[in-house]
Amino acid sequence: MNVGSTFNVAFRSLRRNKMRSALTALGIIIGVAAVIAMVGIGNGAKAQVEAQIASLGQNVILVFSGSTTSSGIRTGWGGAGTLKIEDAEAIRREVPGVTAVSEEVWSNTQVAAGNQNWFTRIYGESADYFDIRQWPLAEGAPFTAQDVRSANKVCVIGQTTATEVYGNDNPIGQVLRVKKVPFTVSGVLTNKGLSTHGVDQDDIVVMPYTSAIKRIGGGTNLRNINVQVADAQQMIAAQQQIIELLRQRHNIRAGRDDDFTVRNQQEIADTATATTDVMTGLLGAIAGVSLLVGGIGIMNIMLVSVTERTREIGTRMAVGAHGRDILAQFLIEAISLSSAGGIIGIVVGITVANTIALTRHWPSRISATSIIAAFSISALVGIFFGFYPARKAARLDPIEALRYE
């Protein structure tokens, strides 16, 4: 018997039991849809986290000043003013591979323009900041290295600050009073969205760090230093050299703890993606169980079907069906059910993932790989769970099968 006829026979049998075929496939539909949707949501979350981390900038090393302990109360990173402007200069000068350095100070302050005022975060940075964070301006121009040297009263503001303070007016060239000191807005940053912690990154004012220190006040210490390295391979070496350089500059003896902390962007990314990987894996595993249950459903129905159709099998054998024809028929029935379930399940899964993305604002990312994998797995489920019933059918003795009541 040829392949075409076998398919013909199998499809005719499935059509004869439409309700049963549909219900059997439903198990697989749910299983595959669950896998597609869950993995899609998991990957979406992972992609979102990765995008947020990439927004920190590429090949960035963050140096935080250390914490102080005062009367048993520790202040956290940046609490102690252990990083000096000279430290940043030294890193810029002495660590090979460093392409950009931005000295950072920040504080939360009330700003005002005209009759509007707003509470926001003020960042003092070097002119390299916008390159390091890969944060272009939407309009206007950033402050320059000259502005930093002269501690000029210029600043760049984020989208949120711009709307809150200036409404629909163009902020470029306007005056922004920061702690009553008038600054000129030279540019507006592009939209960056929420950070991994849910903080609005666009609610910001960025000015030269020199201006922040001299005009706004608050000491001469840096909160942290953002360092950018030319390429990823130099990260570890650069990180090590920064640690050595700073220990030497701060006169820390061997065996004593650093009074600063160095982190690179990759470490932060790894922690965050490891979490989402675990979540994706868990969601996928739970969905996989439902796919397994769907497969067992197929085996169950196929076994019932073989018993119920024993006489049919006997008849087919009597009129010339080989054992392998019967095997092929039942196997194709099982695979057709699981593959059809797989295809419908993919469609349902994508729909579910998109619906969730729309209504719950969870991003979902459905890759071609996961679709191909889901379809292959559903077909394999058909082969695996269909084989035993099919072999049972193929091994029936035609005489006994014909007499079966």
């Binding site: 009597a318 009129v319 010339g320 069906a321 080989h322 054992g323």
Partner: protein, 250 residues
């Protein structure tokens, strides 16, 4: 092969072994059936007629002895080879019809063609099935489902299925066993018409009046053939019997 003998059994034995017990179902049957014959195989249950029928239909193999079908020895073929023989040489008619449920008459009749040597298009399948259905007088009911047909009609569909591959022999196992007497007569008339067209028919039955439709009756008892009578011999025997019981008849 051209001597007209389709089926030739030579000292055929079939022994079943169930645990310690050996059951000798068929113990030494030799039989010849010529092309175009209509033979009724008779016997009580346990006489070995069903076992013999299974072997004749290539559903089973003899333990010893030879089965020459159409000039070729088929006693030692394997499962798949037997399946091919069944497909090409035989048409089966069963007591309980054995039609596929929830399936149209046409699709039931097409069934043997699906397992045949040739790949036929759906149009060819349909044409041949409709022709076979018409030949048993069921034209117009090709699309009826099994459940929509009466017992007699179902058996006719089964006969159409048996005929579709132009078989050497039609094997009928108690074809009227599940039918009322009037329908049984209709079915037997169809067999007689088929036989008149030159189709060889071998029918198992335990009913004397059904067997009487066949020109030749083979009686089995205890696994061997007891009597093998042609119609003329049967007629003479019956007349003799009547003479014995009522000597007053002229």
């Amino acid at each position: 092969m051209n001597d007209g003998v389709v089926v030739k059994l030579v000292n055929l034995h079939k022994t079943y072994r169930t645990g310690e017990m050996e059951v000798h179902a068929v113990r030494g049957v030799s039989l010849e059936i010529r092309r175009g014959e209509f033979v009724a195989l008779m016997g009580a249950s346990g006489s070995g007629k069903s076992t013999l029928m299974n072997i004749l239909g290539c559903l089973d193999r003899p333990t010893t002895g030879q089965y020459i079908l159409d000039g070729a020895d088929v006693s030692r073929l394997d499962r798949d080879q037997l399946a091919d023989i069944r497909n090409r040489k035989f048409g089966f008619v069963f007591q309980n019809f054995n039609l596929l449920p929830r399936t149209s008459a046409r699709e039931n009749v097409e069934l043997p063609l699906l397992y045949g040597r040739y790949r036929l298009t759906n149009a060819q399948l349909r044409k041949r099935a409709d022709y076979a259905i018409a030949s048993v007088g069921l034209d117009g009911r090709e699309d009826h489902y099994t459940s929509q047909l009466s017992g007699g009609q179902q058996q006719r569909v089964a006969i159409a299925r048996a005929l579709i591959n132009d078989p050497e022999v039609v094997l009928a196992d108690e074809p009227t066993g599940n039918l009322d007497s009037r329908t049984s007569v209709e079915i037997m008339e169809i067999f007689q018409q088929l036989n008149a067209r030159g189709i060889t028919i071998l029918m198992v039955t335990h009913e004397q009046d059904i067997a009487s439709y066949a020109p030749r009756n083979v009686h089995m008892r205890d696994g061997i053939v007891r009597q093998d009578l042609a119609a003329t011999q049967r007629l003479n025997r019956d007349r003799l019997q009547r003479l014995k019981t009522s000597p007053s008849e002229p």
